[in-house]
Structure formats: structure tokens, C-alpha cells
Amino acid sequence: MQLIPCPWCGPREEVEFHYGGQAHLSYPTDPAALSDADWAEYVFYRDNPAGPFPERWQHSAGCRRWFNAVRDTRTYEFQAGHRAEDDRQVIP
């Protein structure tokens, strides 16, 4: 079973985590100005690369906190992890 590096608790088994999809998505700063196409982009469209992918994970069976990580979607290898509130990398 894959070990996932929680920035607070350290490496734990995959079953302890919940997947949160693409990271670094922010709510539109001026929602009223968005067109239907812009809303579709925000609600439905996500990056889907074959390669490094910044994404969100929650250590749901542990500290229950969210963090960001970069994982390669071809190998599933975690390349970097960050606490969500700062950009300090926890995986070299």
C-alpha cells in the first residue's frame, strides 16, 4: 500500500487519506462579472495531466487536515508536499 506523506503526521497508509482533486483553485474574485463559459470553467474544468499534478489531500483518519502535494499521475509517486497555509515543502 502506498505511503502518503502527511506534512504533520509523517508517512501514513493511503487508506487514511481522502483525495481532494486539483490544488490551487480559488473562488472567483468578482463572481458577478463571470460569463456562463467562465463559470463552466470554474465549476467543471480541471487539469488532467499525464505527469506531475498539484493536488489536495486530507489526512482524514489522522490529523484531519488538508495539505497540497505534487504527485506524478503516471507513476503515482509523491514528489512534493506542502502545508496548505504556507508553501514550505515537506518532501525534498
Binding site: 456562463d36 465549476v43 499521475t73
Partner: protein
Amino acid sequence: MAPTSDAVAPGSRLPEHPDFLWNNPEPARGYDVLVVGGGGHGLATAYHLARTQGVSNVAVLEKGWLAGGNMARNTTIIRSNYLWDESARIYEHALTLWENLENELDYPVLFDQRGVLNLAHSLQDVRDSVRRVNANRLNGIDAEWLEPAEVKDVCPILNVSPDIRYPVLGASYQPRAGIAKHDHVAWGYARAAAGLGVDLIQNCEVTGIRTSGGRVTGVRTTRGDIAAGKVALCAAGHSSVLAGMVGLRLPVASHPLQAMVSELLEPVHPTVVMSNAVHVYVSQAHKGELVLGAGIDSYNGYGQRGSFHVIERQLTAALELFPIFARAHLLRTWAGIVDVSPDASPIIGRTPIAGLYLNCGWGTGGFKVTPGLGDCFAHTVARDEPHPFVEPFGLERFTTGALVDEHGAAAVAH
């Protein structure tokens, strides 16, 4: 003891493996239509382009070997018991074509209408299932609601005891559903398409899509550039990668979807059983393997393998429902890459680039629609207008909001 005269050994109805059913031509400099992806959808689309639409200057480009991707990795279940009218229409169209496919292709595809049970394990499951049965019947699709004792009649090895963790409270049943032999479906389409003049080109990976003035002009491949009037994408899990070559973003996420088979067993399992709540689905292949499917792995992935804990949960559920499987040996597990859309419905049709056509987002359910999609997508590509059966599934629905929301409605979760 000698077998009785009507005993049929597992696998005895399987045809011989083909020596060759198609040529392996060198790619020509150009084609009227290039179909990218040599799986079931690509081959069926090419066949219908030539057979139904009269477009025979067609090539299918496959980066590996024909039907070696998801077509070789699925659990071969065919059914049309979808909730919404738009879905019911295309899947039932496909099922009708499945029923005549051996004649159509003049090739055995072993379509076996052994029926499918979709189990209900909670009161909400029961209500959703009964609603879907009624919706199916209004659409002219065969569907019944079965009480637990009737479920047991259809599938005697199923544990319908009220004492298990997720007891079977009943099931929807579609008698016309079934399975087919996936390799033979691909070979049948390949053989028929090649016979109609379609070039089937293997080991030819598309590395770029060429455009000029907002119109597609051809593709770059590992075997050189090939010009094309039209390019039809049928690459399932890798559609985002292809569309990205022309800067087109798609609302799909690619996930690993695992399946597994047991050793060969005597015929024990007479139908197809699917369970949404505990997420396992089981049938017995023609040769005798138990074929078990699971839900998708949660994370995005292109690695054609999944997480072990998904297999563990799937087998836990399978053993509770089928105690008879407890001593079966597992032979192998694998994963395909499925592209899941936000409303769990496919995305088919034209793109903002003229001459570039999209067929993706089938998620976990692309195999069952193979003949129907081939017919309707070929129409869409040849005439540059969506076939009425696929029109509701255009990319524009994510902007208009006219979603076909089959998440949780179509008798399987994604």
C-alpha cells in the same frame, strides 16, 4: 462419471484464435478521416464510417496494439438500464445492435443475454431502483423489480440472508442484458473494417495534431505526419492528453479502474450481478473465469494499476454476497484508465476546431455502447452534425447547464 449428453464444457463454444484478420499497412500520406484510438470505439466508428456512411478512405491509428487498452481491460457487461431518456436512447440503440452483431460482422462475438441484476441494499437503493425500473419501462427497455427470493431464483449462489452487513433487499433485473467476448468484438470490427478498405495502423502514436486557420489538417505520429480532412478522437482515458495538443481543455478526470479474474471454474454463476452500494460486480466469463470489477480509484492516474485497498474492499463485498467464492484463486488484477466527466455522461461531438471530433468521458461504461457509439459517431463525423442520439452529449452542455446527470442514477457509481 461420463458427462451427460447435454453438458457443455466451459469454453467449448469459443472460436479459434485468429491467425490474422487484417493487414498491417504502412500509413498513407493522407486520409479523409483519421480515427485516433484502435479500441472498440475507434474500430466500430471506422467500420460504420465505411459501411454506413460511405467514407472508406479511413485509417485507425493505435499507439500500441489493436484493442490492447481499455478494450482488453473491461468486464464486458452490456446493459441499457439507464435512468435518463438521453442515456436510455443511446444505450438501448447499442443493445439492439448487439443483438444482431454476429450477423452484421459475420463473426462470433459471443453476446450472451444472461441478464443483469443490480442489487439494492438500503431503502433508498430500493426506491431508486424501482424508479429506474419504471423509467426504463417508459422508454421501452425491459426491466423488472425482483424481491430477494426472486433474486435468489435468478442467481442461486447469491447470499440473500438478512443477516449480512449489507443485506440484499431486492434488485432491478434486465433480462436482455449480458456479456460479450471483448477480444472477439474488437477482432470482428477490425476484420470487417479492414475488409471495407480501412487501414488499421498499429504502433503509431499520435504526438501532435496539425491545424491551419482553425481547421484540422492532420496529425504528427511516431511514424511520420499524416494528413487528414477530419480527425475523430476515440482515446478514452487519454483524451485530455490528445485534446491538449490543440489547446483544448476537457472537463474529464482520468482514473484507474481495476478488475480481476479468478482461475477457471465450472459454470456456477448464471447471470451478471452488480452492486452499487458495496461496489463489486461479478459475472462468469465464457471460458469459466469469475470476472470481478470494482469502483474507480479516487485519485487521477494514468498508470494502469490501482490501489490494493480497493481490491481488498471489493473482495470483502464479493465474499459476503457469494460465500461460494471463498476458495477461488485469484489469477490476476489490472486497471484501465477511464475518463470520468462531471455528470458521469459521455462527451461526443464537434469541437471548436473544425474537423476535430470528440468521443470521450464514458467513464466506466464505454464497452456496452460500442456498436451504438460506432454508428452514431460515424454519422456525426461524416456529416459534420451530431447524430440525434448523441446530440445531448455535446461539450457545450457544461456551459448551458443541460447536464445528463447519471451519477448514482445509472445503476452504477463512478
